[in-house]
């Protein structure tokens, strides 16, 4: 074991706790979520731009939470978490990417755009 088991306060996760970063993370994530909500509920952008905007907000929120709340970096005690995070990227690309490809091909064949009709995309 890399650290003692007797004193929970000695765990690196506890040692790394830091009010300022928690508050920053919370505020940043909340602001991004509020921005996405306002954009969607007010229909402030055309549909495709809206999609890009909320995807961007979600991506930034993930980075903010990973950094400020989970304290992931390359230091000795969080390297395993970071490795797990990086291993997750190919899975993310496979699952979301292939799903997107699959459904775009499906819609191409099953949901043809009829002129004058509101479409799915």
């Amino acid at each position: 074991m890399s650290h003692g088991q007797d004193n929970p306060l000695a765990h690196p996760e506890v040692q790394m706790a830091n009010n300022r970063s928690y508050v920053t993370g919370f505020i940043v994530a909340s602001l991004l979520m509020a921005a996405a909500t306002v954009l969607v509920s007010g229909h402030l952008l055309p549909p495709f731009a809206l999609l890009l905007a909320i995807t961007g907000c979600a991506g930034l929120a993930i980075i903010a939470q990973v950094y400020f709340l989970l304290h992931m970096d390359l230091s000795e005690h969080s390297i395993w978490n970071t490795v797990a995070l990086i291993m997750f990227i190919p899975l993310f690309v496979i699952t979301i990417g292939l799903t997107w490809w699959m459904f775009s091909q499906l819609y191409l064949r099953t949901m043809p755009m009829i002129p004058g009709m509101p479409g799915m995309h």
Binding site: T95, L98, T99
Partner: protein, 711 residues
Amino acid sequence: MLVNLPGPWNPWLGRLALSEIPYTNPILAPLFVVVVVLVLLMVAGITYYGKWGYLWKEWLTTVDHKKLGIMYIILGLVMLFRGFIDGLMMRTQQAMAVGPHASGMMGAVHGYLTPFHFGQIYSAHGMIMILLAATPLLVGIMNIVIPLQIGARDMAYPYLNALGLWITAAAVVLVMASLFVGDFAHNGWFGYAPIFELAYSPGVGVDYWIWTFQLVALGTTLGSINFIATIVKMRAPGMKWLRLPMFTWASLSANIIALTSFPCLQVAIGLVAADRYLGTHFFTAGFGGNLMLYTNLFWLWGHPEVYFVILPAFGMISEIIPTFSEKPLFGYVTMVLATFAIAGVSWLVWLHHFFTMGMGPYVSTEFSVATMLVGIPTGVKVFNWAFTMYRGRLTYTAAMYWALGALFLLLVGGLTGMMLSIPAINYMVHNSVFVVAHFHMMLLCIVYAIFGSVIYWFPKVFGYTLNEAWGKTMFWLFSAGTALVFIPMFMEGFMGMTRRLDWPFDPHWAPYLDIQMLGILAYVLSILAFVVMLYVSIRDRAQHRAAADAWGTSRSLEWLTASPVPFYNFAVVPQVNARDEAAWRREHGLSAQRASHYDAIHMPNNTGNAIIIGGLTFVLGFALTWRIWWLSLISLLAIIAMMISHSAKGDPGHVIPAEEMERMDREAERAMPRADLPRHSGGVLGGAIAYDSGAAGAGSRNLRGAPDHRP
């Protein structure tokens, strides 16, 4: 309420009412009476013999990985039986109902089961067999074997291990409760959108299905975290990565799959729950929902899950075959690579479960090629096993029978799988019983490996071997059942019989369905043979007392410690010198080597929290199913409170002094028969380390054994 709930509801009982208990059903009502009588008998028996204290102290509150593993296996065997009864009912219904003139009884037009009841049976059969029978059986065996194979005293998180078991048990109780209170889902085990939406399935069946899934997914995810942490952090000194026994490697890859895929299931099922409870429209046909998105999300988990169950089975075969071939596993490194290749590809193939969705040739081609790729590492494994046996000294024990049977089924299932990976063929046989027969070959391959490893590792856990003759009888009966049920099923698939027919309308299918009934009879006899095997083995246990190395030719680390394994696993954590440590020590005449010095060890304490939290998760699932909101809230809060209080308390564990360890080790040693040691003289030039000093096994410290005083 956010959704328009059909039928009555009241704040105290939710949708629960006396009329939900099917006491007029001619199948369920007698079954309920039988179950109640059995439970009363058990309670009376335990009370009469005064075993409540023993049960609570030794089993229900235990955190010992071996006892938890045994309970997982018992749970899995009970559910295997329940799932088999479902299968028996389906076979009987189809054999009775075939053709346009088949008569009906008990309210059914054809056969004896109404379509609604039949739908519940096949849904329950699929879900139970995969998630509540195969998974607990595999997790149970992993639980027992992994810490022994890597030389650990327990799992990395003993309490989490107990929690995983009791949450899985809660899922089992929930699915069994659906028999007697309300209905179960009738939408197939993996569910179809939109039939599981509230508008089309207004009953509680789908809700039972949702919460059972969620509970078992939670239990399995917790278990997988534990296994990965154990294998990464708890290996004995000298147990380098490339010395890990093959079963441990296979389990590691399987649990990585489980950890990454079960969350997908929880999300998919969670979204179904949102549709049914909150009125969202994820999987509805209108309002922006998408039916196929559900199928996609489900199989995103579903296919990795298939490899989660098959990889440990491959690992078991890789342990049994070398032992009874008296040779090391052929191509160890390629075996490891093949295992991880299968695990990696498992993420790229899920679309082959719905090739007929209509996404066109490009997407189908990618998934078809990826699916065929699985054949390469699987082929590597099959050849490795074959070359392990080639020119080996084969002993055909019962365990070896099961392992060889598993190989044969893998071949049949694998080749039909290759057929199905071709979209053109897949379009032809999609949703036919050909597919059903194919995946039963694969799942039976797992069942064969499980029975093989139950026989193989039984002496390690209980200290005596199972009866060989009855094990082989069971094997032949079970194999006869497999052949008689599934060969006709393959043929019916080619004849165009679709799956899930409560009424097989074509009279040409009748002879095939009748042959399948013979197969079911063989399966019933094999279950009897299993019971007889257990009875005979327990009765004659004194004659079949096993030594540490129960088979005399075993290879991996678990065969070094005493049989039955004491609760501390290894009195002194061994120093690992070679890939097949037990075989290496035997070949170098070090099998009888004992540690000369003992140290105090630190073990975790028992706790009742795990079973209480498990019970509360059942209450939560039941309350959510019946929409009893106050009870859901209370049980959820209670779970959170218990979790926090347990974490805050921590577990100081207890220390066993060195003298006590020495006494227990000597006693375990004396209780075993003398092992038959090889005749050739032992000894290694330069000396070998059997027990290294400074080994950091859970706070213990061991001393160097002297290797040079062997006779």
